[in-house]
């Protein structure tokens, strides 16, 4: 039975101290040392405080990470400080995917402070973490967990909105083309209908 209670983790996340919301030192002098924060989180999760080598993006790729994404990562390190994640070495190889892939996409649509101020976004981050780490939330089946994440997913919601926008744009274009083509010659008619 999983002891990863979504409600409890959301509550923990929403208590994230303001210090985690600061820009990183990569963006602003005197900011958070994001790389150190990530490495410390690795150590806490692995329960190996002497370890020095962790999987992080190359310097080249780090330069492309935007401020909102960094701050989202910083907030997630607070979430990962919950006792549930301490001394869980099996998570180590999943955190890279969580920070630099899953959160990279989500950060495109969610402003960093909303991960804390908005309960739904907080739950989305919790569920995204659990899903990426292949952890089933307490009391939920695989299907339930996937459904709940899908219903919260900002990326999915944006995809739906984008598709809906594109569909609407196409309808408008068809209407314009209809009006234009109706006024012009079409093609041979061969018989009566």
């Amino acid at each position: 039975m999983s002891n990863y209670n979504v409600f409890e983790l959301v509550t923990h996340l929403r208590k994230c101290p303001d210090i985690f919301l600061k820009p990183t030192s990569l963006m602003e002098k005197g900011g958070l040392n994001a790389i150190a924060l990530v490495c410390d989180t690795y150590r806490i999760v692995c329960n190996d405080f002497l370890k020095k080598e962790f999987k992080i993006p190359s310097e080249y790729n780090l330069a492309y990470i935007e401020d909102n994404h960094w701050r989202t990562i910083a907030i997630s390190t607070w979430l990962l400080s919950h006792p549930n994640f301490i001394n869980c070495p099996f998570l180590e190889d999943k955190l890279y995917t969580f920070w630099f892939e899953a959160l990279a996409e989500a950060a495109l649509y969610v402003k960093f402070e909303n991960w804390i101020s908005d309960e739904e976004r907080a739950e989305e981050m919790v569920r995204l973490l659990l899903y990426t780490c292949k952890i089933l939330p307490e009391g939920e089946s695989d299907e339930e967990a996937i459904d709940k994440l899908a219903s919260l997913s900002s990326a999915d919601r944006q995809k739906v909105l984008r598709e809906s926008y594109e569909a609407n744009e196409r309808i408008m274009r068809i209407k314009r083309e209809m009006a234009e083509k109706k006024a012009r010659e079409a093609a041979n008619t061969y018989g009566r209908e």
Binding site: K182, A186, A187, T189, G191, R192
Partner: protein, 452 residues
Amino acid sequence: MDASSDPQIALTDAERFPLLDDLSFLNTLKQDALAPKFNFKSGDRLNAIQLSKVKAYKKNYYSTKLFWNEGQTPIWLTDYVQWCFDTVPFYQNKGNQFDSFPTMHRDDIRKQAPLFVSNEANLEELLVYYTSGSTGAKLDVLFDAVSQANWLPQIESVLEDFAISITESSNTTAIALICAQEKTLTYASLSTYLGGAGILKINLNPSEWSHPDNAKKYLEKYKPQILTGDPLAFMALLALLPELRPKAMISSAMKLTTGTKNKLEHYFKCPVIDVYSLTECRNIAYATEIGHKVIRPDLFLEIFDEHHDVPLPNGKRGELVVTGGSNPFLPLIRYRTGDFCSLKIVDGIPYLIDLEARNPVIFFTKSHLKINNIDISNRLSHLPLAGFKMHQRQDKVIEFTGYSNDISPKEIIQLLNVVFKNDIEIQATIQKISQNNTVEKTQYSSELLDDN
């Protein structure tokens, strides 16, 4: 195309005929001293890819016609429904299971035409056809050059049943669409699919010709192989007594009575084929002795209860419902045609039995005996009527208007009295067919409700 939509001439010949270099026959047709005052221009618009699609359509569906057997569906249906579900907005929230698919009707297309356009359809290729709504509200039908040109292989397959083929050559007129209306678009054109053969759309209305005899002489000179039109136009043509020997005449848009058919066949010495077609999906079936023989294997036909979404078994009479077609701008799934018949499969070919356009109308004798309009149609079919309208008033009096050059109101009254068992009052008028008619399609109507 209804004249009131006023489309504009807007293309170059290169856009009308992307694949035809030699337009000399087109110029001959247009510039002949006998030619009408063509008021429009038209082309088939087929480029190389589109022409190959028309040819592929013919090969795929008409080299061997495969329909479906009783209790089965055509092999293409599952993929077609899935494609509609994946790419056509109107169908996307309706599930992809054909068995439970709801029906839709003309109003859906009329009000939401853009939603029927597949996301895969290239809007650069969109063409719009405007119908006047002679059997319903006005409708914009969206299509492309390919689905329009597919009319040709469809009709070629019908002509094959009569051992007739269209000669493909750039110095012959393949088809002449004959109209006898107050006003319509007229043009001379060519068909790329038919090797550059001529296509004419002409109006017999004398005001469109510099001399009244020119319509007759022009047609005699260019000898169209196939004449298409409605019974009124054909009877108007017959009245000119042209020396024409077409290979076949394709009648559509209005019911062709046996009397009119016999008269036309006797004069023109060729088969007169009564084709059932809809603007929404073009040709569907043609009349034979046992019913309307279905033409197109790319259409799946079902019969549904008029009021409920319940498919009926073969043999049961109900509303004809169509699925399929080749138009990416209007793919149809379970489209209610508004026409009624039963379905019968004979030797693997579907037939529409007792096909009647639009809602069945019940008439009543004075003593309130019900008379079905099918019985009336069957009786009237023996007369050389090019068309008719029949209406029953609240006081049960029948008002009948027929179009014919050969029969009198007295004959109509006699015949209807037989159907109504001499228990009816009839007011009948017969209007002569002219070269510029303004009549609507055959129709029945009644002010009396069928109270069962």
